[in-house]
């Protein structure tokens, strides 16, 4: 009987921290699929958003929704293989919309290419029962935050000069 594969050792570290936070959360909606659908809708909105700040905010919302669906499943003992499959497929769809929206940039093309690799990795993960999926949206959020920090830092220097 196929099970939910374990995450890598690196992922286990931050997941322990997140699970610690989960104890203090109150969930208004107790269906994990609600957070998946929310994540899909927000990812689609990404196609129409302009501006690094708003993009970073949307990616952050998608990541929070992705975390919440797992948190709800763990809290209410709903975690199962089907839920994990939904999580993996919704994550790939969400990545598709996010990186398609920035396909016009070089970095966007690179992320989109990685997204295609991630689909293949997802299929491999399902087959091999090993979790080998790249957290691309998290990497992209780091990239957006880096852009924002650089932008505001430079603006600050210009103002000082």
């Amino acid at each position: 009987m196929p099970k939910i594969p374990k995450r890598s050792d690196v992922a286990q570290i931050y997941r322990k921290v997140l699970v610690g936070f989960e104890k203090y959360l109150i969930f208004p909606i107790k269906n994990p699929n609600f957070y998946q659908i929310f994540s899909l809708i927000v990812s689609t909105l990404f196609l129409f958003v302009v501006g690094t700040e708003l993009r970073a905010l949307l990616v952050l919302s998608v990541l929070v929704a992705d975390w919440l669906d797992g948190a709800v499943a763990r809290r209410y003992k709903l975690a199962n293989r089907q839920g994990w499959l939904i999580d993996v497929v919704v994550d790939r769809v969400s990545e598709g919309f996010i990186f398609a929206a920035v396909l016009f940039t070089g970095v966007g093309k690179a992320f989109f290419a990685l997204y295609l690799v991630n689909i293949v990795l997802s299929m491999y993960s399902i087959k091999s029962q090993k979790h080998l999926i790249l957290p691309l949206r998290f990497f992209y959020l780091i990239f957006l935050v880096y852009i924002l920090v650089t932008k505001y830092f430079l603006e600050g220097i210009i103002c000082l000069v």
Partner: protein, 155 residues
């Protein structure tokens, strides 16, 4: 979802994401085609398994009338096409790719999917598979996006 709903809704999202203007008729027709073309695989399976559908009916069985292109590997194929086209025409890449991706996402949202087919045959659903829910979702999408299309074309 029915093909008409896909064509109306997915094409609108694709056209707006690519920044098409109402006068660019060729591009608009292309989005309609991209939004609906994936449903061609249903025809093949419906003809191939016509005896099964005659006896069991279409209701609740149409997820079996899909090729792997209607599941996660479909995103891979669409993505490769998009990435290749985007190297010389970003707008065209979005016009062809986004409606297809929306179509696949809508099918994932509304119906029964076997997303990792052919690797894993587990069926998943995101919403309860009540006929009334599915019809309501179809109607909401169809009406909302028809209004948006009319507003866009007559703006």
């Amino acid at each position: 979802m029915v093909t008409l709903t896909h064509i109306i809704s997915a094409s609108y999202i694709g056209a707006r994401a690519a920044g098409v203007s109402p006068t660019e008729t060729n591009y608009i027709i292309l989005t309609f085609l991209s939004a609906g073309i994936l449903d061609i695989d249903h025809v093949y399976y419906l003809i191939k398994n016509r005896a099964f559908y005659k006896s069991k009916g279409y209701k609740g069985n149409l997820h079996n009338a899909r090729s792997f292109l209607h599941e996660l590997p479909g995103f891979l194929v669409t993505g490769i096409i998009m990435l290749m086209i985007s190297l010389f025409n970003y707008k065209l890449a979005l016009l062809m790719g986004i409606p297809m991706m929306i179509h696949l996402a809508q099918d994932l949202l509304a119906g029964v999917s076997i997303p990792f087919s052919p690797v894993d045959k587990t069926q998943i659903t995101l919403i309860p598979q009540k006929t009334s829910y599915r019809i309501a979702l179809d109607v909401v999408f169809l009406v909302t996006f028809s209004i948006l299309w009319i507003k866009f074309l007559y703006a």
